[in-house]
Symmetry: C2
Subunit: 121 residues, 2 copies
């Protein structure tokens, strides 16, 4: 077995699609997923799990029902399970998400943004 | 409940000790821990869990029994459960580790570097 190093920013050069998370690493039953985001996502929550967002490049706003968090590169937040949230990015922003494998990007909301099968990079 | 943003680099300004992980976030039963490392750690493994290392600032070498990985800022690796490893840093390096809460820093090796109770920042 050979353990590889993963260059997070380099992984973002491998795709262009927005709102399409790609898996870059697995830690036990958790996935590390990266995504390019721009515009407004759907309001949703994940009743079964917390979710971590880390900004790799750019900035975005994590909208919450009781206020918004402005996050820039090098900043992170933990969205507790069941808490409604909506990421919004004026300009394209590169993010890393960490959550259990199988967690749907749209959580309990579903809809057109839902991606069931994620690619590995 | 108020969700806070966490500035990862800012957290490193709050302490000086090396090899003394501090918890900065919790995701379900996983902890996000930061540490300043310099010099050679002990060889050890975590039979019960994988472990993620992300370099925030600087560089270090993850020594493995079958070769070494040189990791710089923005790079990460996953050490699978049971795989012996030893972090070595020539100059001080700032790292983020992600692993289940309660995972000991020295794994199955124990010894003077072991820290049982971690502080939150």
């Amino acid at each position: 077995m050979s353990i590889q190093k993963i260059n997070i920013k380099q992984k973002f050069t491998l795709f262009d699609e927005q709102w399409s998370p790609k898996i870059i690493a697995q830690l036990n039953d958790y996935h590390f997923k990266i995504a390019k985001i721009q515009g407004e996502f759907v309001w949703h929550s994940h009743p079964e799990t917390d979710e971590v967002f880390i900004v790799i490049d750019g900035e975005f706003e994590m909208q919450l029902r009781d206020g918004n968090l402005a996050l820039g590169a090098g900043e992170m937040c933990v969205i507790p399970g069941g808490v409604e949230h909506r990421p919004v990015a004026e300009r394209e922003c590169a993010i890393l998400m960490i959550e259990p494998a199988g967690t749907l990007n749209t959580g309990d909301a579903g809809g057109e943004h839902t991606i069931e099968e994620l690619d590995w990079l």
